[in-house]
Amino acid sequence: MSAKNQMEELYHQEGYSLPVIFKSGKLHSIQARRHQGWGLRLFENGREGFSSSTTGDLDSLRSLAKANLPYGPRSNYTLPQGNEGYPTVKNYYPSCARTGGKELIELGKQILARIKPARIKDLVVDVDLRVGYGLQHISNSLGLEKTHRTSFFEVSVEASKSKEGDLLNLWGVHFSAKMEPEKALSVTEHILTRLKWSQRIVKPSTKRMPVIFSPWALPFGVILQPLSAGLSGENWIQGISPLKDKLGQQVTHPSFSLYDNPVLPDAVSSTPFDGEGLPTSRRPFIDKGRLVSPLLTLETAKKLRLKPTASAQRSYKSRPGGGFSLMEIEAGTKPFKKMLSEVSEGIYVEILSGGGQSNVIAGEFSLGVILGFYIKNGNIVGRVKDCMLAGNIYDCLQGGFELSAERENPLGSLLGPYIRMDNLTVSGKGK
């Protein structure tokens, strides 16, 4: 297939993971999971056919894609063809991918041993440790051929303590592309600190007050989902994004800048090419409040007559769609401790529920506080219970917020600062 109106693209993924699972403080299971899959896109006569399979039988993939091609999306763009200009992304460590179950069992025991001396009655601890690797390979009939491997090391510790009328769930994680046992062990300190903060329960009453979102809380529906939806090129084409028609305009306060960062070293999400094979880079989408671009694939860029942004996210089972590889929010200048000390009465939140379950496209969020703490005169004085937060992210980002100097990427999907929103509606059952 040499003509540009007849193209073929093959996207392949494979991976291996080795989860070691401790339940209620005891070793429960070890798993060895392998997966592989191929997705084939066929372009002919201005249409696109697609099929996927776990068997890798190319003839069968071609015949399936050919069968749905006459009804598929119209395509009038050209796939990438050069093999130059790709960034170097370092997130594959063979020693990490090859770590064995016995080493993870030992680390799990050490994590449990660090929590044990706290002697907290009825604390139930589950630990999930896993290593592995992923591989993605893309090739097309125009000569593109790219492969990238990632390794990963993930540790998740969940500690729960229950009594009548109160189930406390604490959670700490560490994600990296390389083995970092010391950082994994420090997850226990994160949990023990929160246990201390949780000794007293506070029930806030319904009113407006400052809320500080930890970088842990940001992926839970406050920022990641509404802004991903608002910046989605597909939603711009459909006309349902509140950001459409605002290109180049000020859409947030100038202190807010938002990037996609697919090249962050040692991040599991990093990759030198996107789901269509375009070279990736750290790229601004909102720059000092000004809207730079939506998240675009080749298809949406062509339809919107904009430059592609190498934002194609996909698995072998799906066609590419625009999305963030790793959302990055620019830091502010104020240290988190100073930010906290300036709150006379407010809430500091780390885990929220209900994310994505509201009118996300309009920017609405309405979230239950699973883990949050009450701030009084600049100090954390207890854990909040029976409490909800609601707002609209586009309204919130117009002003009346502050960003911390420190940033974290705890969950692998968002690198961001602590954000204090000064006037948020908190609903609670307190008097």
């Binding site: 060895a32 899959g37 776990t54 189930l167 994505g356 379950q357 609405e364 609601a390 509606t425 059952k429």
Partner: protein
């Protein structure tokens, strides 16, 4: 064409040192047709083939997966080695008599007999019908069918083979007017054939009606209300909040939770009964047998306010001295089974919805849901509601979430209506790393006092 069972080795390798093993093989063939506006988004067909072996030795589990069936014997040996690394304690497993069963479901209209061209045209016609309403700025619609074969066998001598079909479809409409961006949608997901698309077509006027409400609705004011939730939200509550708390992998390791979830305990208002039922014909959560070979069954979780059962896998049943309930499920062959729901619902009562509304001075009739999350502290985002004033519904409200403490709310349920409906969503349920899993949920209209409504 190779049948799935042809991949099974003629002789299963011996696994010394293993107390129990099980093998799952699956083949899933999926067709997907989706449109945004009149533009096709994805028209595709996919083949997913794979399997796993789970082995247990002295209470420890090893689990290995594969896509290439030639790796089956190797995966069995790997699961064996992993289990032996873990197992240090006496055997913990609820033995079962072997079952041998082969089952094929017969949908009314087999989607495999409908050409792709017709499926595409039908979805397009749904999108066109929605577009005819002046309220729409944009629409989307989708259809997917799944034809699967599952084989399960274990060291006890069970052999189960099921061939089945399920279909799902959705349509949504969006208005981007002055009041903001509002969307209304309906989705169906059942273990039936192509005839399901007809149900979606019948529901299109409901989408238009709901969008009309959403455009008119004002944001709700936060506070404490008496609410009536509709059958979908009743199901979301039964599933997200109480259902997940009934899953015994959540209960078994925690002595305090075991006490809170003690059987025979008076846990809810006497008007409340909740079931998990994997035997309802054609519902998406229904199963002939679960992923450990236990037949699907109807389990009474709450009966007239008393806690009557937990949901179990064979492992949790052994640990808690109870019987397996057919709730060990995995989203696919790439994951081990964990305790999951099937179709979870609140049983209907005798009250009329109109009488319930008439009994409220100041409250909200809450309709449709964006979804929710459960646990002790639950929160559900409602699509919209109708304010109830002086026993009558008056005006629509939107942008609010219901939240509360599960155990207090169970006791605050005042009445349940005589309506009943079960829903299967386009997406499904997520737990730990496994999602989406197809589940059904539903119930009647349910009246609850003192619910915290989070608004702006």
């Amino acid at each position: 064409m190779t049948e799935l069972r042809d991949y099974l080795p003629s002789k299963i390798p011996a696994l010394p040192g293993i107390d129990f093993w099980e093998l799952r093989l699956e083949e899933r063939i999926t067709t997907l047709v989706s449109f945004k506006g009149d533009v096709p988004q994805q028209i595709s067909e996919s083949i997913d083939l794979g399997g796993n072996c789970r082995a247990m030795a002295k209470g420890g589990y090893g689990f290995a997966t594969f896509n290439n069936p030639e790796h089956l014997a190797k995966s069995m040996r790997q699961a064996q080695e992993l289990a032996k690394t873990v197992g240090k304690k006496p055997n913990k497993w609820r033995q079962r008599a072997p079952i041998r069963l082969e089952y094929s479901s017969c949908p009314l209209i087999d989607p495999r007999h409908i050409p792709l061209q017709k499926k595409v045209a039908r979805v397009k016609s749904i999108q066109k019908k929605l577009e005819e309403s002046h309220l729409m700025d944009t629409t989307s619609a989708g259809y997917s069918d799944l034809c699967f074969t599952r084989i399960y066998m274990n060291s006890e001598g069970s052999f189960l083979c099921e061939k089945g079909v399920s279909c799902k479809c959705f349509a949504s409409a969006t208005n981007t007017g002055k009041g903001g961006i509002e969307s209304a949608a309906r989705a169906f997901n059942r273990r039936v054939g192509y005839e399901l698309v007809g149900e979606l077509e019948e529901a299109l006027p409901e989408i238009i009606k709901e969008l009309g409400y959403l455009i008119k609705a004002e944001p709700a004011k936060g506070g404490n209300y008496t609410v009536i939730v509709d059958p979908l939200l009743a199901g979301v509550f039964a599933h997200e909040s109480f259902g997940h708390t009934s899953e015994s992998d959540f209960i078994q390791g925690d002595e305090r939770i075991k006490e809170i979830m003690r059987l025979s305990r008076k846990i809810a208002s006497p008007v409340l009964s909740i079931y998990d039922d994997g035997t309802i014909p054609n519902e998406i959560g229904s199963l002939i047998y679960d992923d450990e070979g236990t037949p699907g069954q109807k389990t009474a979780l709450i009966t007239n306010g008393l806690l009557t059962s937990h949901l179990h896998s064979r492992e949790t049943a052994y640990n808690m001295g109870e019987e397996p309930t057919g709730n060990a499920r995995a989203i696919n062959y790439a994951f081990p089974p964990i305790v999951r729901m099937t179709n979870t619902y609140i049983a209907p009562g005798k009250d009329k919805l109109s009488d319930l509304i008439a009994s409220i001075d100041n409250g909200i009739l809450v309709c449709n849901s964006y979804g929710g999350t459960g646990g002790e502290m639950f929160s559900f985002s409602a699509k919209y509601g109708m304010i109830i004033e002086g026993g009558k519904t008056t005006r629509p409200v939107k942008n609010f979430t219901l939240t509360g403490n599960l155990f207090k709310t169970l006791k605050n349920i005042i009445a349940v209506s005589d309506d009943f409906q079960i829903f299967g969503s386009w997406a499904g349920c997520g737990k730990n790393e496994q999602g989406p899993l197809s589940v059904g949920l539903g119930g009647p209209y349910v009246m609850i006092k003192d619910v915290l409504v989070g608004g702006r």
